[in-house]
């Protein structure tokens, strides 16, 4: 019998019941809850007179709607100016009180984007099944967990039963061999993968990321990579547990300690694919060939190396692709054949569950240190992923670097990643953004998003147009 993949092992160890019709009942170890996708689930429980199956498996934290300006934030929930947002955050609080679930309040130092908070607090751990009513739950797979987003009906299902009815996915290995060039980051790797396999390339698969480049990545980088599995069409992405994982998890507030830690570590040592495991599909990339990436269109697969030129629809044969490129160029207000480095962002956003961890902020600060944001850039926002990240960044003086460069330093939350709060693009504005989605209107009605790494976003803020951060880093030395 062939060996098992990491996904096979995680699936197998959480199987409550395999059913004859091919579906399975899978046990869920952790559910993370936020304000946007949970109210209707709690309402469903209430209407059916049901209670959460296990309260100690859930953690709630508001993130999508919270204001990021200190002035508005300081007053807590009651001070949220948008009444609809306020009601949603208040509803999360009330639901957690009613159902006796643990939550972090909006001004708790542990508050932040749910996918930053989970690993940071040791709430999500290797070997777990982790779900959340949010597609970027794939992030937690970086810890060697089986983690994926679910809809609100499933949030309710997990609350009520601690399980989900699932179909097993196929296995895909994305292997990134070799090493990365200086200035090329996990974000560029993620975008390069999506550029290669497309936004539906991973549909129906659980992706495991492997290869030397991934083994060499920090946990922050691995989280960035797994985070964007969903942009490649896969609900879940994961990475084998190694010493990097263990070092990261050890000592986190909710992680096991003492004897329990030793027990856990022993169990986690099996969390990798067997040598002879068989994947349904294997995709390989060579690390040295990956350049800093910039998206130019309205889908994450519309991505190019920073020195690339925009596609010309006239040269595309496939009619549906031709139409998509034409529409994207029109929406983005860009000319076929023009260069990525000619694009001038009006705003810059450094944040989101993809790139708001301490390492991301350090990378951005490195680039802007001693420099100024270009006059043509109206706003450059830096939004840490959690209160803990913010505290750490301030301890390292990163906030002062950003402020001195003319950037804004905000309170943690999703912010301009999806613009549910006051942080958004105006119609027609271009944004260099470290988030994960460049869909039409994602960052504001009519807004135009270009996805990049934190260092690339920071360099664009200073230069006033996209630049190859590799040149800068050499020049800066």
């Amino acid at each position: 019998m062939a060996g098992q993949t990491l996904y096979d092992k995680l699936w197998q160890s959480h199987l409550v019941e395999q059913r004859e019709d091919g579906s399975a009942l899978i046990y869920i170890d952790r559910q993370l809850i936020h304000e946007v996708t949970s109210p209707q689930a709690f309402e469903g429980l209430r209407l059916a007179g049901r209670k959460p199956w296990r309260r100690d498996a859930n953690l709630a934290v508001p993130d999508h709607n919270v204001p990021t300006e200190l002035r508005e934030r300081a007053g807590g929930v009651a001070a949220i100016e948008d009444p609809v947002s306020r009601l949603q955050v208040q509803t999360l609080d009330d639901n957690c009180d009613d159902f006796d679930l643990v939550k972090f309040d909006i001004n708790d130092v542990r508050q932040g984007i749910v996918h930053v908070v989970g690993p940071e607090q040791g709430v999500t751990l290797p070997g777990m099944t982790v779900v959340c009513g949010d597609s970027h739950t794939s992030t937690h797979g970086a810890l060697g967990a089986l983690a994926h987003g679910i809809g609100t009906s499933e949030v309710e299902h997990v609350l009520a039963t601690q399980t989900l009815i699932q179909q097993k996915m196929n296995n895909m290995l994305v292997r990134v061999d070799g090493s990365l060039q200086r200035g090329v980051t996990a974000k560029d790797v993620a975008l390069a993968i999506i550029g290669k396999i497309g936004t539906a390339g991973g549909t129906g698969y659980a992706i495991e990321f492997g290869g030397q480049v991934v083994r060499d990545m920090s946990m922050e980088g691995r989280m960035t990579l797994c985070n964007m599995s969903i942009e490649a069409g896969a609900r879940m992405g994961m990475i084998a547990v190694d010493d990097t994982t263990l070092e990261y998890v050890k000592g986190r507030p909710f992680a096991p300690s003492g004897e329990m830690w030793d027990l856990a570590v022993a169990a986690w040592s099996d969390l990798h694919s067997d040598e002879d495991a068989v994947f349904d599909v294997v995709v390989t990339l060579q690390g040295e060939e990956i350049e800093p990436q910039v998206t130019w269109g309205t889908s994450p697969e519309m991505v190019l190396p920073v020195n690339g030129t925009l596609p010309d629809p006239a040269a595309i044969e496939d009619p549906s692709r031709k139409a998509a490129v034409t529409r994207a160029l029109e929406y983005m207000g860009l000319q076929a054949g023009s260069r990525i480095t000619d694009i001038r962002p009006d705003r810059v956003f450094i944040g989101s569950c993809t790139n708001s961890r301490i390492e991301d902020l350090r990378a951005a600060a490195d680039v802007v240190k001693g420099r100024k944001v270009a006059d043509s850039v109206k706003q450059a926002l830096v939004v840490p992923g959690s209160g803990e990240v913010k505290k750490q960044a301030e301890a390292e003086g990163l906030d002062r670097v950003f402020l001195a460069a003319g950037m804004e330093w905000r309170e943690p939350g999703c912010s301009m990643c999806l613009a549910m709060n006051a942080d958004k693009l105006g119609a027609g504005e271009h944004c260099a953004s470290t988030s994960n989605r460049n869909f039409e209107g994602r960052q504001g009605f009519g807004g135009r998003t270009h996805l990049v790494s934190p260092a690339m976003a920071a360099a664009a803020a200073v230069a006033g147009h996209f630049v190859d951060v590799r040149d800068w880093q050499e020049a800066g030395q």
């Binding site: 709430v123 070997g127 539906a200 549909t203 169990a267 549906s320 989605r437």
Partner: protein
């Protein structure tokens, strides 16, 4: 949940690939704490010329006359013909809620994003994946004849065109059964409570760190 057995209705087009859930229902409407009322904001950025706000009276907003769902010939449509990777992006169940609230009971496309596909079944909306060439043909037929109606028979797993052609489709047995009977799957799962408890008892011994941490 509303059961789905046989449904006949007018087909309408959403003729582009990779339609994401942000496009199906933009984020400003996600602030609602209700499950209903999203229909008027389905495809909001395409349907209207202005930027929609929650709680607004949509009947007074300027319509985008170039958007097919605003064409009189597609009024009252309940079957949506779409292209590949429909429903990609965020996991928001508001997307199928909006489709359902608008009146769509069935979506036919060459492929769907996983989470969206799953969410549809929980809301009495049937997503049907057919060969791209077949979907192409349905689009052509729909464009060619006003009032183009399809019948979808979930029991027999067939899409039936106006000229009687029967196109078979696949759907997994469990989801099909739930939809046919309009079953609440939480209730079904709770019938297996003993199996869940037995699993937990084993895990408490094998992996005790998984329990009791969050309090």
């Amino acid at each position: 949940m509303r059961a789905f057995t046989v449904h006949s209705g007018l087909a309408a087009p959403m003729d582009r690939a990779n339609v994401d859930t942000d496009l199906i229902i933009p984020k400003q409407f996600l602030k609602s704490i209700k499950r209903s009322g999203f229909g008027p904001n389905l495809f909001d950025e395409l349907r209207y010329l202005d930027e929609g706000q929650p709680g607004q009276d949509c009947s007074r907003r300027p319509l985008n006359e170039d958007f097919p769902l605003n064409f009189p010939r597609y009024r009252g449509a309940s079957i949506l013909l779409a292209r590949e990777n429909f429903g990609c992006g965020s996991s928001r169940e508001h997307a199928p809620w909006a489709l359902e609230d608008y009146g769509f009971r069935c979506i036919i496309a060459p492929s769907f994003a996983d989470i969206f596909y799953n969410n549809c079944f929980k809301n009495g909306v049937l997503p049907i994946a057919l060969d791209a060439a077949i979907v192409d043909r349905l689009f052509d037929q729909m464009y060619a004849s006003e009032g183009y109606e399809l019948t979808v028979d979930l029991q027999r797993q067939r899409v039936i065109t106006p000229d009687g052609e029967e196109i078979p489709f696949e759907v997994d047995a469990f989801r099909r059964q739930c939809l046919l009977e309009g079953l609440d799957d939480i209730g079904l799962t709770l019938q297996r409570a003993d199996a869940i408890r037995a699993y937990e008892d084993r895990q408490r011994i094998d992996s005790p760190w998984l329990f009791g941490a969050i309090r």
